[in-house]
């Protein structure tokens, strides 16, 4: 208990400056964060080195039919072949690239929008809050799914990147609302009141008082957004709303399902892409755990209580 009281008294003066080195130090020492980072980095490397790991044929890319249909994994095709005779290993490796870049790209756009809208709305209050909340609510009720279809009418075929972009533009409202709620709470706290009395300008208060105190929420929202995009892109592709000719984990699952991978027991077309999505998602969740624990040591499991 003593320990916690001590931290509590430190809290108001936690700033970005003295947080960062601790973060790095804590991060390296945190086993969950390190495991998550290790898994994630492995996938990042696979994505970056895809052309070296799984060289593509000159024409046709990863979707080129190179083997017999539904060959089980062997020396030649490590993950077997699809019903179309495509190399599952090549598809998964090159799909890593697509899925990760879509996930992190769109996830980052989402969190930037969340921060701008959520904190402004929560901190400013009044008319600004009303208007921004209106915007949030409107975006909350816009179902991203039909929007993808509408946009697919503009562009030729909605590839994974288009889907990612649509998701980014339509999916920030949720996080923004969460950040807004948290901002509301922090805004009413003593240290913000103190800063206000001391005459600090609003942007300083937001940047140095509110944001650092929300950093774990922001980071976890960001990671949550990345996971959301990866999962939703896979889901939309799986539903057949994407371009079935793209190379992404979701598209692989779409084809596996269309060829009834489970019924024909061609598990090798169904399991690898699904596992990859889950592993990336899990690694991000682990990192999220780690970050939470570092910014807030009380969260560490096995301590306190």
């Amino acid at each position: 208990m003593e320990n916690q009281v001590e931290i509590k008294t430190q809290r108001p003066r936690v700033t970005l400056r003295n947080l960062l080195p601790e973060w790095l130090w804590g991060f390296v020492r945190n086993p969950k964060a390190m495991l998550g980072t290790f898994i994630l980095l492995s996938f990042v490397f696979i994505g970056l080195l895809a052309p070296d790991i799984a060289p593509l044929p000159e024409r046709g890319g990863a979707n080129r039919m190179v083997g017999r249909p539904h060959q089980a994994p062997d020396d030649e095709f490590w993950f077997g072949t699809t019903r179309q005779g495509q190399d599952v290993f090549k598809q998964v490796v090159h799909g890593t690239r697509t899925s990760l870049s879509v996930g992190f790209g769109a996830g980052t756009i989402i969190i930037i929008l969340c921060i701008i809208v959520g904190i402004t709305s929560g901190y400013m209050g009044g008319l600004v809050d009303e208007l921004l909340s209106l915007l949030m609510n409107v975006f909350l009720v816009l179902p991203g799914l039909p929007l993808v279809i509408v946009i697919s009418g503009w562009v030729d075929q909605p590839g994974p990147y288009t889907i990612g972009l649509v998701l980014a533009v339509t999916s920030w409202a949720y996080g923004a609302r969460v950040l807004r709620s948290q901002t509301l709470v922090i805004r009413n706290s003593e240290f913000v009141a103190a800063a206000r009395v001391a005459g600090e300008p609003s942007w300083r208060i937001v940047l140095f008082e509110i944001l650092p105190n929300m950093i774990s929420l922001v980071v976890s929202s960001w990671i949550g957004a990345v996971v959301f995009v990866i999962l939703t892109e896979a889901t939309l592709s799986f539903l057949g709303l994407g371009n079935p000719n793209a190379v992404s984990w979701g598209t692989s699952l779409y084809w596996a399902q269309n060829n009834q991978a489970l019924l024909t027991r061609a598990w090798w077309t169904f399991v690898p892409p699904g596992l990859c999505i889950a592993l990336v998602g899990f690694s991000l969740t682990l990192i999220n755990y780690g970050i939470d624990e570092i910014s807030n040591p009380r969260l560490r499991s096995g301590e306190g209580g």
Partner: protein
């Protein structure tokens, strides 16, 4: 003379069909009852609309609740089976088509079905053109009741295949429909109909259940009204997975699902009770190109494309081996009788329609399609870039795979081909307006060889607005073909018709307006846990797929019955 022999043939056909029951049963009493469970793969939720002329009525409204005048028997060369009409004849000048109607047919409210109803139905089309789903309006001027069971249709021009068109309509009850103010928006929730499944039991977002018409006019072996089964139940499956899982589990009796690797899944689950037969008699799926554009206006280029396609892979991988490469003359097995062997031989001589990448490359070289700028892809003869897209419908995965194979084939001979996966509506719109390079597309499958070529070559099908109707999507027409098509339906002389048909096929092979790929397989599986009487591969007395709205499923329905009293009790 002619009329009589025709009717004789029809009677023989009916007897042939009826004989199945006797053979199967050896005189033992046929058990009655049971609910046949039907699946047609992925499906939209059902909404109650038993107006057979609505744009998208509830399934089975068209052949189940209502019935056509005659039913074309696809595996038997589309011979017409008498149904509500017992036969037809043409007048001397070929300008009047007369149907004689079946006597003793009753609507399910007890009223008699007669010539008034048929006349009423055609006149309703004239009053409400939106109801004319069969596009009969351009072909008739008036309909006349000759007597209570004879109807004469006065044609606007000589059209000797008109009996196929006019026999396909579903007559409506005059006494029930004449008072309906707007029959176009009428949803007919409690139908007055003659069909064997005229009683609507349940229709909701999950299931459709139609039950027997107690007063149906056709009698079974036991002298009681058909059908032998009590009801037909069709559950909604939003995806192929649950539909196929239920099918593999043996929960469904009569199936028209696309099941991948059917031998190792559906059949392996119970080789004794599970059966399928994918009759390759559907319309021929083809590669279309816009022949109004370069380079598709160049015959040499079209021929080269036809040599570059690996037809075997398209059918074995794209179509799961469920069909075979088509003949070069576009006619499926259903029209074997109309094949022109000379045209087939001519195609073989030209080397078209045979997978030979080297020959394709040579043909492209010879026609000037060489890589002029060194980017690795062939260019147009004038040196400008050549790249093209192959259109396909999103979600139609067998076609998407076929297109993937073909685009790979084209790339292998140095053509920069890519795939354009489109939403159905946009895909079709592009084909009709001619805003595409190449595309996979269906062909006409019935009811006659004439229809197949008419829908692909007849120049009148391009409207004033530039829309290509039917499947004239490649927009290749010729005066000679037009004339042959007109001549064909202006006579009943079989020899003249054969000559015209032979010549059309030769024109087709010589000009390659599109590349025939494979006849569309018709999905049809069945299980015999509970019911028997289904068409089998050995005795394919009618097309077995349950989605045949032209009425063939009614013929199947007349044969279906429980294997025993026990299975009747089981099938509830």
């Amino acid at each position: 003379m002619k009329t009589r022999s025709l009717i004789l043939v029809l009677v023989l056909v009916t007897m042939l069909v009826a004989s199945n029951v006797v053979n199967a049963q050896d005189g033992t009493k046929i058990p009655r009852g049971g609910v046949v469970v039907v699946s047609e793969g992925r499906q939209a939720p059902f909404v109650s609309n038993f107006n057979p002329y609505a744009p998208d009525p509830t399934p089975w409204a068209q052949a189940g609740v209502y019935e056509p005048l005659m039913i074309p028997n696809a595996p038997n060369g589309f011979e017409l089976i008498p149904w509500l009409a017992t036969g037809y004849s043409y007048s001397e000048d070929l300008l009047t088509l007369t149907f004689t109607l079946q006597e003793g047919v009753k609507w399910n409210d007890g009223e008699d079905f007669n010539a008034d109803d048929v006349v009423f139905t055609f006149e309703l089309f004239q009053k409400f053109p939106a109801l004319d789903r069969k596009a009969t309006l351009p072909y008739f001027s008036s309909v006349e009741k000759v007597d209570d069971y004879t109807v004469a249709i006065h044609l606007t021009e000589v059209y000797t295949l008109a009996h196929y068109l006019f026999s396909s309509v579903w007559p409506l009850p005059e006494h029930a429909w004449s008072t309906i103010e707007d029959p176009v928006t009428y949803t007919n929730d409690t139908p007055v109909a003659t069909g064997p499944l005229a009683t609507v039991k349940v229709v909701n977002e999950q299931v459709l259940e139609l039950c027997r018409n107690e007063t149906y006019w056709q009698m079974g072996e036991d002298g009681l009204p058909l059908p032998y089964v009590d009801c037909m139940r069709q559950p909604v499956y939003p995806g192929n997975d649950p539909a196929n899982l239920a099918t593999v589990n043996g929960e469904v009796d009569w199936v028209a699902n696309f099941i991948p690797d059917i031998e190792s899944t559906f059949i392996a689950a119970n080789p004794e009770k599970h059966h399928y037969y994918f009759w390759p008699g559907g319309g021929v799926v083809s590669l279309y190109y816009n022949t109004e554009k370069a380079p598709y206006n160049d015959l040499a280029f079209r021929q080269a494309l036809s040599m570059a396609i690996d037809y075997e892979s398209v059918t074995s991988i794209g179509m799961y081996g469920y069909t075979n490469p088509s003949e070069p003359i576009l006619l499926s097995d259903a029209f074997k009788g109309s094949w022109n062997q000379e045209a087939i031989d001519a195609a073989a001589e030209m080397g078209i329609h045979e997978y030979d990448p080297d020959a394709a490359e040579a043909a492209l070289d010879a026609a000037g399609y060489v890589d002029a700028n060194g980017d690795g892809w062939r260019d147009l003869p004038d040196g400008s870039d050549l790249s093209f897209k192959v259109q396909v419908v999103n979600g139609w995965t067998d076609w998407v795979t076929s297109v993937q194979i073909m685009s790979q084939n084209f790339q292998d001979v140095g053509l920069n081909a890519s795939i354009d996966v489109l939403d159905f509506g946009i895909w079709l719109n592009n084909l009709q307006t001619g805003t595409y390079d190449t595309s996979i597309g269906w062909g006409t499958g019935d009811p006659t060889a004439w229809d197949v070529f008419r829908n692909l070559l007849f120049s009148d099908l391009i409207g004033d607005d530039g829309i290509a109707n039917a499947q004239l999507w490649s927009r290749w027409t010729s005066e000679e073909a037009d004339q042959l098509l007109v001549d064909y339906v202006a006579t009943t002389d079989a020899a003249a018709q054969k000559a015209a048909m032979d010549r059309i096929q030769m024109i087709f092979v010589e000009n390659l307006p599109l590349i025939p790929l494979f006849p569309g397989p018709t999905w049809y599986e069945w299980t015999d846990y509970r019911f028997t009487g289904f068409p089998t591969e050995e005795d394919y007395y009618i097309q077995g797929s349950s989605w045949t709205t032209n009425g063939q499923r009614l013929v199947v329905l007349m044969q279906l019955h429980c294997i025993s009293e026990e299975t009747c009790a089981e099938a509830q």
